[in-house]
C-alpha cells in the first residue's frame, strides 16, 4: 500500500500486522485497507491464517506487531461497529439455550454490563431471525436445528449487532444450498446498505459470483483488490502453490471465470 489511506472512510486498515502463536508467526506483515461497502472474500489454503486475521482484527488473538484501525480508531473504541459470525464449530450446540436467546446475544454489546436486554432488543432479535427465515424456530433448542439453521442463527445474531462491518468466518461451510442462497441474499442486501463485509470462504467456484473484492492469503497477503483484477491463475498459484488438487480446482475456477467474461 504505497498510496495514502484516508482512514476516516476506511472500515478496516491493517498496518504491518504480525500474529504469532507461541512465538511462531502464522501471519506475517499484513498490510490491508478494506474499502467501504464491499463484499470482500478471504481465500487461501488451510492454515493460511484466514481466521487468525479476522480474530486479530477483533483483538481475540494478540498481535506480535503492527496495528488495526477501524474507521481510523483502535478496535477497543469501535467494538460496536463490528458484527461477528464465528465458525459454527466454535461453540457447543448442546448448550441449554434456544435460537432467539442466541440471537439476543448480538444485542449485549449495546445493552452494556449488568443491564438486561429490553423489549426493543427482543424485537430487533426477532427481526433478525425473520431476515434469515427462522421466525418459527426462535424457541427451538439449538441442538434441534440442522447445520444450515444453526449457521442462520449465527448470521441473525450478527445482524442483531446492527454493525457497520461484518466479519464472517466460513459462513457457507457445511450448509445446504437453500441456506447458502439465503445467506448470500442477506450479504447482498447488507452491501446495498453500504455495509462492509469480510468473509472467509472456501469454494473457489463461487468467488467470482459472490465477491466484488478479494484477499488472497497464505501466511501473508498474496494479493488484494477488485476480484476481476486479482482472481488470476498466477495469484492462485502463489496462494495455493504446491497443493495439486486445489491447484487444478483453481485452474478450473479461473477458466470458468474467464469464460464468464
Amino acid at each position: 500500500m504505497l498510496h495514502a489511506v484516508d482512514e476516516s472512510v476506511t472500515p478496516i486498515h491493517i498496518h504491518d500486522m504480525t500474529v504469532a502463536y507461541h512465538k511462531k508467526p502464522v501471519l506475517w506483515d499484513v498490510d490491508l485497507a478494506v474499502p467501504e461497502g464491499k463484499l470482500v472474500g478471504v481465500v487461501g489454503p488451510n492454515g493460511a491464517g484466514k481466521s487468525t486475521m479476522i480474530k486479530a482484527i477483533m483483538d481475540l488473538v494478540p498481535k506480535a506487531s503492527g496495528w488495526v484501525h477501524i474507521y481510523g480508531k483502535p478496535y477497543s473504541r469501535m467494538r460496536q461497529a463490528i458484527g461477528y459470525v464465528p465458525q459454527r464449530e466454535s461453540v457447543d450446540w448442546d448448550f441449554p439455550i434456544n435460537a432467539l436467546d442466541v440471537v439476543l446475544m448480538g444485542r449485549y454489546g449495546h445493552v452494556g454490563w449488568v443491564r438486561r436486554p429490553d423489549k426493543i432488543d427482543r424485537e430487533l432479535a426477532e427481526e433478525a431471525l425473520e431476515k434469515v427465515g427462522m421466525t418459527d424456530f426462535g424457541h427451538r433448542q439449538i441442538n434441534q436445528l440442522s447445520g444450515g439453521q444453526q449457521q442462520r442463527v449465527f448470521l441473525a445474531r450478527a445482524l442483531a449487532q446492527d454493525a457497520q462491518i461484518y466479519l464472517m468466518d466460513e459462513p457457507f461451510a457445511g450448509v445446504d444450498a437453500a441456506t447458502e442462497r439465503a445467506i448470500i441474499d442477506i450479504l447482498m442486501d447488507l452491501r446495498a446498505r453500504k455495509k462492509t463485509m469480510l468473509v472467509v470462504h472456501h469454494d473457489l467456484h463461487t468467488v467470482n459470483q459472490y465477491f466484488d473484492w478479494l484477499v488472497l492469503i497464505n501466511m501473508r497477503i498474496v494479493a488484494a483488490g477488485e476480484t476481476r483484477d486479482v482472481f488470476t491463475e498466477d495469484n492462485l498459484n502463489k496462494t495455493y502453490g504446491g497443493q495439486l488438487t486445489v491447484l487444478s480446482e483453481a485452474a478450473q475456477a479461473v477458466a470458468h471465470h474467464q469464460r464468464g467474461l
Binding site: 441449554p96 448480538g106 449488568v114
Partner: protein
C-alpha cells in the same frame, strides 16, 4: 437446644450449602469445568490456614479473603500451566490443586500448636455442631454462626447469578463472541472461580472438603439431564441441594451416621433417579422412545406388506406366519396386535387383511415410499439402490414433506421400478 430448633438449624445449614453449591455447580457442569470445582475446593486450604495464622482467630472474613485469593491463584496457575507452558489441561488442574492442598496440609501440621483446625473437620465437616456454634454481638446471641455465613454466601451467589446472568450466559456459550461485545470471558471466569472458592470455604466447616465437591457437581449434573433451559437447570440444581439436605438429615437419623455424608448420598440417589427417569436424556425415556420407534416401523411394515399383496392381486390376506417379521418377532407381534386392536387390520379364518382405515394409512405409506424412490433416483441414485433408503425414510414423512417431494418431481405416475405411485 429444643427438639425443633436443633434439627432445623442443621437442615437449614445443609440446605443453604446445597443451594449455594448447586447454583454455581450448574455453571461448572455447563462449562465442562466440574474438575475445576473439585480442584478449587482443595486448593483453598492454604489460604484458610494462612488467614488463620495471620488473624489468630476463626473469624470468617479473613478466611474468605484467604480462600478467594488462593482460589484465584489456583485458577491463574492452571491457566498458566495450560496456556503458556502447554501442560495438558487436566494435568494442570491435577498438579495445581494437589500441590496447594498439600501445602495446606503441611501448614496445618507444622503449626499444629497454633492452628485450631483439626483435619477431621477439614475433611468431613461438623454440621451437627451448627446449633451450638453461636454468633454474638456483644452480649446478644444472634443465632448459629454457620447459618449467618452460609446465608450470606447463598445471598451473594444468588445475587451474582441474577446480576451477571447475561454475562455468565454469553461467556459460557461463546467466549469469543463475549469478547467481541465487550464482555471479558476471562473476568467472568475469575469471578465465577472466586465465588466457587468462597462458597467452598463457607460450606467447608459444615460438610468438609470432600463432600463439598459432590455438592458442587452432583446437583448440577443431575439438573442438566432434566431440561434444555438454563433457568430451569439453575433452579433445579439449587432445589436438589435443598432436598438432599432435608432427606439426608432424616436418613442420617435412621442410619445413625454422618449427616453431611447422608446428604451427599441422597444427592447420588437423585442423580441416579435423574439418569433413569429424566424425560429426554434419561435411560428410560430413551428406551421408551426407541421401543415406540421400532413399533411404528414394524406397524408400517405390516400395513405395507398387506397393501403390496393386495396390489399384486395374488392374495388379499396373509397368515400370521407370512406377516410377522422373523428378524424382530417380538415387536412385530405387538405391532400386529395393536393394529388389530385399532381396527386397521382384521382377521378372518386365521388370515389378516387391511381394514378400511388400514387401506388409507397403508396407501399413504406406499405413496411416501415410491415418492422417495423417485426422488432419490432423480438426484442420481440408480433405481436398484433406492429401495432401502426409501424404506427408512417412508416412516418419517409428514404431509408437508410429502408435498415438498411431490413438488420437486416432474409429473410422474410411477416410481423407478415402474410401480404406480398411489394418490394419498
Amino acid at each position: 437446644m429444643s427438639e425443633f430448633w436443633g434439627p432445623f438449624w442443621i437442615v437449614l445449614a445443609g440446605a443453604l450449602a446445597g443451594a449455594s453449591c448447586g447454583l454455581l455447580g450448574a455453571y461448572l457442569v455447563l462449562r465442562k469445568m466440574s474438575l475445576l470445582g473439585d480442584a478449587l475446593s482443595h486448593a483453598v486450604l492454604p489460604g484458610i490456614v494462612i488467614a488463620f495464622l495471620l488473624s489468630g482467630s476463626r473469624d470468617v472474613i479473613p478466611m474468605f479473603i484467604g480462600a478467594a485469593i488462593c482460589g484465584v491463584i489456583a485458577t491463574v496457575l492452571i491457566e498458566t500451566f495450560h496456556r503458556r507452558w502447554r501442560v495438558q489441561e487436566d494435568s494442570s488442574i491435577g498438579i495445581a490443586f494437589t500441590a496447594l492442598f498439600a501445602l495446606g496440609v503441611v501448614l496445618i501440621t507444622a503449626f499444629a500448636g497454633q492452628v485450631d483446625l483439626d483435619q477431621e473437620c477439614v475433611l468431613y465437616g461438623e454440621i451437627a455442631y451448627t446449633p451450638w456454634d453461636r454468633l454474638f454481638w456483644g452480649e446478644w446471641d444472634l443465632g448459629p454462626r454457620p447459618i449467618w455465613i452460609l446465608g450470606t454466601v447463598f445471598a451473594l451467589n444468588l445475587a451474582f447469578v441474577l446480576v451477571f446472568y447475561k454475562e455468565l450466559l454469553i461467556a459460557s456459550f461463546d467466549a469469543e463472541m463475549a469478547l467481541s461485545v465487550g464482555v471479558s470471558a476471562a473476568l467472568v471466569h475469575y469471578m465465577l472461580m472466586g465465588a466457587v472458592s468462597v462458597t467452598t470455604v463457607a460450606a467447608f466447616e459444615s460438610v468438609g472438603a470432600i463432600l463439598v465437591v459432590a455438592m458442587l457437581i452432583v446437583p448440577g449434573a443431575s439438573a442438566y439431564l432434566w431440561s434444555d433451559r438454563l433457568k430451569v437447570i439453575l433452579t433445579l440444581s439449587a432445589l436438589m441441594g435443598v432436598i438432599s439436605a432435608i432427606a439426608g438429615y432424616f436418613l442420617a437419623g435412621v442410619w445413625n451416621s454422618s449427616i453431611a455424608g447422608a446428604m451427599v448420598v441422597v444427592m447420588g440417589v437423585l442423580f441416579a433417579l435423574s439418569l433413569i427417569f429424566a424425560p429426554h436424556y434419561g435411560v428410560l425415556g430413551r428406551f421408551v422412545r426407541q421401543v415406540r420407534l421400532s413399533l411404528k416401523v414394524a406397524r408400517d411394515h405390516v400395513l405395507l406388506k398387506l397393501l403390496r399383496e393386495r396390489e399384486s392381486q395374488r392374495v388379499s390376506a396373509l397368515s400370521w406366519g407370512d406377516l410377522v417379521d422373523t428378524a424382530a418377532r417380538w415387536v412385530s407381534g405387538i405391532a400386529i396386535r395393536s393394529l388389530m386392536w385399532q381396527g386397521l387390520i382384521t382377521r378372518a379364518n386365521g388370515h389378516f387383511s387391511l381394514g378400511e382405515q388400514g387401506v388409507v394409512h397403508a396407501t399413504r405409506l406406499l405413496r411416501n415410499h415410491r415418492l422417495w424412490e423417485s426422488y432419490l433416483n432423480q438426484i442420481g441414485l440408480p433405481p436398484d439402490h433406492v429401495h432401502d433408503p426409501a424404506d427408512a425414510l417412508e416412516h418419517f414423512t409428514d404431509d408437508r414433506l410429502r408435498e415438498e417431494i411431490r413438488a420437486a418431481l416432474p409429473d410422474i405416475a410411477t416410481d423407478p421400478q415402474g410401480k404406480r405411485i398411489p394418490d394419498g
